[in-house]
């Protein structure tokens, strides 16, 4: 009886009664379906203006009046053309004539929850649950009002300033009111979802996890392209999408929702028995070698794999084979990751055995360090392996005091000062055991405790300061003092040298005071 009814509804709705299929909304497409139909590029099926075609971006759906071709996922569609489809080609959108197919059940009841009006003259008290507050349209200069925009630039308005971006992002930092983007990537229905986030808030946070994070640039590009917003901040897998200064929810582009997930088409095999550029023996040899290779990293399930492509590229600098371990990931996941790596790195996939992706860098791989390729520098180290690591500096330097040989008067003077003030002690014997050394140190510590706590004021000598201005000197002396607690850039001059002794009257402070007095006169 059910089937009869289905037949009937089909006859009512379909303009083309020859189609054998029943409405796919009524049967769930399952993964182990036997259906397989080889397809070629071009239109698969068409129903008036509504066509399903296979083009550059996999299976896409053309509707009349749509601004672009709809796809199930905008970011996760491989560049390779599909070779077959797993279910009869059918539009996943609601048919234009029938809002809801008859499923044998009454429609669900409406929610009883009453959402209070927010836009009234007596606004609800702050903190009342169930109230949704609308944010003002984008940050606009004082006295300016949002204007209706038509295209993307008009909606976005003038570019955001830095402080505006900070202001917009801040409340979203530790908030999980967000759009989650998973292994399906940026799907068609997320467009509507993002717009519904933008209804209340100016910024929509999109958190990406899993497969799409391998290629975040692609995800970001698609997000900006399809939603019309602007990405104002991006950290790891988290993207903050701004709706635009002149955004208006009512005039947003509205797209039909996909009512079910179309089955993914069949793509050509990722791993060939004999990959291109290899003979059968070589491929076999590589796979055997790969068994004993250490994986460079372990991918966790639903992790963020932002650095994966860079890591694999780096590892190819040293080894022709690279393995990535994906324990616990779903097979389709690591296959998708493999396919992305194949395009992005690029590399040749060898196997997915044991939940591990084995890759070869290919014949036309070129090192980043062309002039100076990385050579493992493990060969010359065997000469010193017999050396005991506890060995103290021994007979090769018979010079008693190496300080005479080095040209660092500042260091030596400091060292001697430490010796004179009995803060330091020279050891007579050099090959002390660790315990003896510790004992010596403890002995010394007792004696030098007093010396440690009596500080002599450091005196600066600046003899050439007369010609310069005093602030210059002040800054320089600051520079000396900030040695300890200040970080310099490395390009800061390395050759600052300073003789710490000088007559008492020549401190920079004295000079400053003197000049100040002159100036005040």
């Amino acid at each position: 009886s059910n089937r009869n009814r289905n037949q009937k509804t089909n006859h009512q709705t379909d303009t083309n009664p020859k189609k054998p299929q029943s409405n796919p909304a009524l049967k769930l497409p399952h993964h182990r379906t036997r259906y397989y139909k080889p397809v070629k590029e071009g239109v698969i099926s068409s129903d008036g203006d509504r066509t399903i075609l296979i083009g550059d971006s996999g299976v896409s759906y053309q509707l009349p009046g749509a601004p672009f071709e709809f796809q199930f996922s905008y970011s996760e569609t491989p560049k390779v053309k599909p070779v077959g489809i797993r279910e009869p080609a059918f539009m996943p959108f609601a048919p234009p004539t029938m809002p809801r197919p008859w499923t044998g059940k009454a429609p669900l009841k409406k929610s009883k929850k009453k959402i209070p009006l927010f836009d009234s003259f007596n606004p609800p008290p702050a903190g009342k649950s169930g109230v949704k507050y609308v944010e003002m349209p984008g940050p606009l200069p004082f006295g300016r009002y949002p204007k209706e925009g038509m295209n993307r630039e008009e909606v976005l308005g003038e570019p955001l300033k830095r402080w505006e971006k900070g202001m917009l992002i801040k409340p979203h930092m530790h908030d999980n009111r967000q759009v989650n983007l998973g292994r399906d990537g940026f799907t068609h229905n997320m467009l509507e979802l993002i717009h519904s986030h933008w209804k209340r808030r100016r910024v929509c946070k999109v958190r990406c996890k899993g497969v799409p994070t391998v290629d975040m640039n692609n995800v970001c590009r698609v997000l900006e392209e399809k939603t019309g917003g602007e990405i104002i901040h991006r950290v790891g897998g988290v993207v903050y999408l701004f709706r635009g200064r002149n955004y208006n929810y009512r005039t947003r582009p509205q797209y039909p929702l996909m009512l079910w997930k179309p089955a993914a088409p069949v793509y050509p095999k990722l791993i060939q028995e004999v990959p291109e550029g290899l003979t059968k023996e070589e491929a076999h040899e590589f796979r055997v070698k790969g068994k004993s290779l250490r994986p460079i990293c372990k991918l966790s399930k639903n992790g963020v794999y932002v650095s994966l492509v860079k890591d694999v590229r780096d590892a190819f600098e040293l080894s022709s084979l690279v393995k990535v371990d994906c324990p616990g990931l779903e097979p389709s996941d690591y296959k998708k990751i493999g396919a992305k790596l194949k395009e992005l790195v690029p590399c040749v996939l060898l196997s997915f055995d044991d939940e591990q992706i084995l890759m070869w860098r290919g014949r036309e791989w070129k090192s980043r360090f062309v002039d100076n390729p990385l050579i493992p520098s493990l060969s010359e180290t065997n000469t010193t392996n017999e050396l005991d690591p506890s060995d103290k500096p021994s007979e090769e330097q018979t010079v008693a005091n190496p300080s005479t040989t080095i040209s660092s008067p500042k260091m030596i003077s400091l060292w001697q000062r430490a010796l004179e003030s009995s803060k330091a002690v020279i050891l007579e014997e050099l090959d002390l055991g660790p315990d003896d050394l510790l004992k010596k140190v403890e002995e010394l510590e007792g004696t030098s405790l007093a010396a440690e706590h009596t500080y002599t004021a450091m005196v600066l000598s600046n003899t050439d300061g007369a010609a310069e201005d005093y602030v210059d000197e002040k800054d320089r002396s600051e520079e000396y003092y900030s040695d300890i607690d200040d970080d310099f850039d490395d390009e800061c001059s390395d050759d600052e040298s300073l003789d710490p002794v000088g007559p008492v009257g020549s401190l920079p402070v004295d000079k400053i005071v003197r000049k100040l007095r002159e100036r005040l006169k």
């Binding site: 103290k392 040209s407 320089r476 040298s497």
Partner: protein, 240 residues
């Protein structure tokens, strides 16, 4: 334990009566040429500190791998570790023209900051020239990593040093990988254990490579060569 000198205060000068007009000065920080005509340009010294625990009990353990690195450096650069100052065994030497100060703090690990802080202030080594050498559990055994800055990495020695350097964390560090404790072995037991023969071999090779890297770092600073060194180290065991 900071510099035993006076701290400069900020001076405000009112050169003219209107307060809001400040006089601006061009600040140039060059070496005063007249002083050191006796010598050539003198480079800022490097303080290279290897962290470890003193005493025979801890000698040669995983946690003391910083000491071993200092030993290798001292032997390669011909530095005599002959002075005890501020609870550390130190040696003054030079890599080519750049003066270096090797130090092995003889305080226990959790207090090694005391000696590092006072050494840095006494020899007036800037923060960017203090190289800490310590063991790192997050890296596999025998893998080195040179970083211009970083966190404490749950290393009590580094924590203490940071505490005595005013909480600053941007000093360079050379971390020597020792691997993770196997199974559910206690972390402390693993750290205070000696290396297995295979690991010892890997560590010795790593120390040789590390001393070369320290030399390039001291001579050239963080540049392409250091990132290259890190790359080679990171993937050195991932070969067929």
């Amino acid at each position: 334990m900071l510099c035993p000198t006076y701290t400069p205060s900020v001076y405000h000068f009112q050169t003219q009566k209107p307060v809001f007009r400040k006089q601006r000065f061009r600040v140039c920080s060059s070496t005063s040429g007249g002083e050191d005509d006796r010598f050539k340009v003198e480079y800022t010294p490097w303080l290279i500190v290897g962290l470890g625990n003193p005493g025979n009990k801890y000698h040669g353990t995983r946690h003391n791998v910083g000491f071993e690195m200092i030993d290798v450096l001292a032997r390669k650069e011909g530095v005599l570790m002959n002075t005890i100052q501020s609870k550390a065994l130190i040696g003054i030497g030079a890599i080519e023209d750049v003066p270096i100060l090797l130090a092995k703090p003889q305080t226990y690990m959790n207090f090694s900051g005391e000696s590092v802080g006072s050494l840095a202030s006494h020899y007036r080594v800037p923060l960017r020239h203090i190289l800490m050498i310590y063991d790192e559990m997050a890296l596999p055994n025998g893998v080195l990593r040179l970083q211009p800055k970083g966190g404490q990495g749950y290393h009590n020695g580094v924590k203490s040093v940071m505490g005595h350097l005013d909480g600053r964390r941007n000093f360079p560090r050379l971390s020597i990988g020792i691997g993770k404790p196997p199974g559910n072995m206690d972390m402390k037991a693993f750290l205070l254990q000696k290396f297995s023969p295979l690991e010892q071999k890997q560590i010795e090779e790593a120390l040789e490579q590390g001393s070369e890297a320290v030399k390039t770092l001291v001579l050239n600073g963080f540049n392409q060569g250091i990132s290259r060194f890190n790359l080679v180290q990171k993937y050195k065991f991932h070969k067929v």
